[in-house]
């Protein structure tokens, strides 16, 4: 087969147009010919580049204000990405009163290409106004002022930095740090050899080891090697580096390096930070439980899943809202698995496959509403993903979700002359981005009949005026999925979900969101 014939088959393959005979021919050629395989990748990479261009340029299009009278060309009734959004956008043609107001630049947006990640913290207090240093945060080079507590930062090359407050240090690059003051412990795996730690009076180059460095004003800087080998030298001097091996320690005194006894207890280790983090987590869980109980008892609480006190085998989840109310219907689990929530021991439910969802029923009508969820997004979001989708499309029905661009979105069904309501929509700007993955966050949206407010981790991120059809309804609904669609599931772990019949104030939202989430799966 010549190059042109093969190109024709590859083009058909990429368009999904191969017939059986052509498929056999293409497969046979690819198996026997290295040149054909190279041609496959040349063509496929270009096709993948086009697909990426398509996705990004489509993203830019839909990120434009939705008030344009007609957004897109054609509609399609199948399941794919574009149409999920087109269908939504088309149902939102009447979108009066949309306004965006970004009150803070989302930290997540800034840090998608960092050099390390904040892996664990224990009682960490940072000097205010510094870099975002919550657990799970990807960090870029920058300076960190830890006032007290412990923090472990893990570089992408596998190096681990354990800082004990007070400490003032800088991450200079993927393979270099600077200690202005404080105690830092480093573990450098073989693939990261050469990792360098500088300080005002001492420079350390790792040759495969675990070591600690301590710098404080008034005393000489010290290096203690727990395992392996490091090379130390005085900055600015041309003396050969001084090797320091397992069980040895040195300090820099008056431009010279001298041996001192090693102090194994001078540096906190990973066991210590884990122990302290667990203790902190237990305290946080207890205070969250008490705050959650109070909210369940709020007279306007309509629905509150805290996922606590449930047997592992149960397929219904108790609705803790306002137990005196006879309308407190439980939620039914469809497909989801039980998992762990924000803290060890906290129960949660995991939505993963396209069938997973929680079925709920929130009867009655409201004049105002608060929707609150604590969740961890477990995978990149593609297309609109549903937090709450009612079965009803009657005026007043509320649709809550995350748009293709990672914007928090509330839709309120308004009367229309067709079967599909006009949706009054208020979006935030993109806040659920790839760097939020694996991190516990809280999302809240309130609507007082006039204004919609969106919150992330207790902070107001957007607000906009919206019309109300009078009363708001949820009724039968799904959490984390949407019955009308194949792939609208929100790939997330949810450990709290709440609906109240009033708009909580910013202070109330902040107070409930302050239960500090931890990172990771």
């Amino acid at each position: 087969m010549n190059e042109l014939q093969l190109q024709k088959l590859l083009d058909k393959y990429l368009s999904g147009a191969l017939n059986e005979e052509e498929r056999t021919e293409l497969e046979r050629t690819l198996l026997i010919s290295p040149a054909a395989r190279a041609q496959f990748w040349g063509t496929a990479h270009f096709h993948a580049g086009l697909a990426r261009w398509g996705q990004e340029s489509w993203g830019k299009k839909i990120a434009e204000p939705l008030v344009r009278p007609r957004l897109f060309g054609i509609l399609r009734a199948s399941r794919q990405r574009s149409v999920r959004i087109v269908a939504l956008a088309a149902s939102v043609i009447l979108v009066a009163g949309i306004s965006f107001m970004m009150l803070r630049q989302p930290a997540a947006e800034r840090a998608t290409s960092g050099v390390a990640i904040v892996a664990m913290t224990a009682d960490a207090v940072w000097r205010s106004g510094g870099n975002d240093t919550r657990e799970g945060q990807i960090v870029n080079p920058g300076r960190f002022h830890l006032e007290s507590g412990l923090v472990q930062i893990e570089f992408f090359n596998g190096t681990r930095l354990l800082a004990e407050g007070p400490a003032d240090f800088e991450i200079l690059s993927a393979g270099k740090a600077y200690c202005h003051s404080g105690r830092l412990r480093f573990h450098v795996p073989p693939r990261a050899h050469g990792f360098t730690v500088d300080s005002p009076a001492l420079s350390v180059v790792d040759v495969g080891t675990e070591f600690g460095i301590v710098v404080s004003s008034g005393t000489s800087p010290e290096v203690h090697v727990f395992e392996g080998l490091v090379e130390t030298r005085i900055p600015g001097r041309s003396d050969p580096p001084v090797p320091v091996r397992t069980g040895q320690a040195i300090r820099a005194v008056a431009n010279a390096i001298e041996s001192i006894p090693i102090n194994l207890k001078a540096f906190a280790d990973e066991k210590e930070i884990t122990r302290r983090a667990s203790k902190t987590a237990r305290g946080e869980l207890d205070s969250w439980k008490s705050a959650a109980r109070q909210l369940s008892l709020d007279p306007t609480a309509l629905f509150h899943l805290n996922f606590e006190d449930q047997a592992a085998w149960t397929r219904t989840i108790a609705n803790r809202a306002n137990p005196a109310s006879s309308a407190s219907l439980p939620a039914n689990i469809v497909g989801c698995r039980w998992s762990e929530g924000r803290w060890p021991g906290k129960r949660a439910i995991q939505i993963r496959s396209s069938g997973d969802r929680l079925n709920i029923d929130v009867p009655g009508k409201m004049n105002a509403v608060t929707l609150f969820a604590s969740l961890r997004v477990d995978a990149p979001l593609v297309g609109y993903r549903s937090l709450l989708s009612p079965d009803s499309k009657e005026p007043g029905a509320l649709r809550w979700g995350i748009s293709d661009q990672g914007c928090l979105r509330l839709g309120i069904a308004m009367p229309s002359k067709t079967a599909e309501p006009n949706w009054e929509v208020v979006l935030s700007k993109p806040v659920i981005t790839s760097s939020q993955i694996g991190r516990w966050i809280s999302l809240a949206t309130t609507f007082d009949g006039k204004e919609v407010r969106h919150y992330l981790d207790g902070e107001l991120i957007a607000k906009g005026w919206a019309r109300s059809p009078g009363s708001l309804i949820i009724g039968g609904a799904e959490i984390g999925n949407w019955i009308e669609s194949g792939t609208r599931q929100l790939p997330a772990t949810i450990d709290e979900f709440m609906v109240l019949g009033r708009a909580l104030s910013a202070e109330e939202i902040r107070a409930h969101a302050s239960a500090r989430p931890r990172a990771g799966l």
Partner: protein
């Protein structure tokens, strides 16, 4: 993804299963453009790429504990992506079929490196080259690559035969490739 037991971790790995998962996820995000490109090449139906990509991420997260920090991340993640493509192909039934496992294996043994900066450059050139296409070709590229319409749907919308959509798509791709290559050559020459 149930949390794993931290005490089972090897001494040289990140401290706990929780840390390692977060770390492996951050590696995935770093390399997401390459992994997505890889999945796109092996999934001959663009509408399914998102789902395979998401499934791959979830499996990579779940298997973070078995990732050996001494190994390169990309081949490991692409190995998982490959299985996810085949799994999705089995589920898709008649909707689309991936190439046979033997062929995918042979292809993956020789996938060349594509430097990220070339990919980013490619996107900039594509933007300009698509604008130069004849209106109908541009529309077909938009519908196929931006809106993930199948050729049959494009044909119905334009009132064409499906075969003529295939031909038009193929021609548009060829013209775009030539345009991008020319622009890249000019760019290299001017440096």
């Amino acid at each position: 993804m149930e949390p794993e037991n931290a005490t089972d971790e090897a001494p040289n790995s990140p401290t706990t299963a929780v840390d390692r998962t977060a770390w492996v996820q951050s590696l995935f995000i770093q390399h997401s453009s390459r992994i997505r490109g890889y999945i796109t090449a092996l999934t001959p139906s663009l509408g399914f790429v998102d789902d395979v990509f998401q499934e791959t991420f979830l499996t990579v997260s779940a298997k973070a504990g078995s990732y050996d920090v001494e190994r390169d991340f990309l081949p490991w993640a692409c190995g998982i992506a490959r299985f996810k493509v085949m799994e999705a192909g089995r589920r898709a039934g008649r909707a689309w079929r991936p190439l046979s496992p033997d062929v995918i294996e042979a292809l993956c043994a020789c996938e060349p490196e594509t430097a990220p900066e070339i990919e980013d450059g490619l996107l900039g050139h594509l933007e300009k080259c698509v604008k130069k296409l004849a209106p109908q070709s541009g529309k077909i590229i938009d519908m196929f690559y931006q809106q993930s319409h199948k050729p049959a749907e494009i044909a119905k919308h334009l009132g064409w035969t499906v075969a003529s959509v295939y031909v038009a798509l193929s021609r548009a791709r060829t013209m775009l490739k030539q345009c991008v290559e020319t622009r890249m050559q000019v760019e290299r020459g001017s440096r």
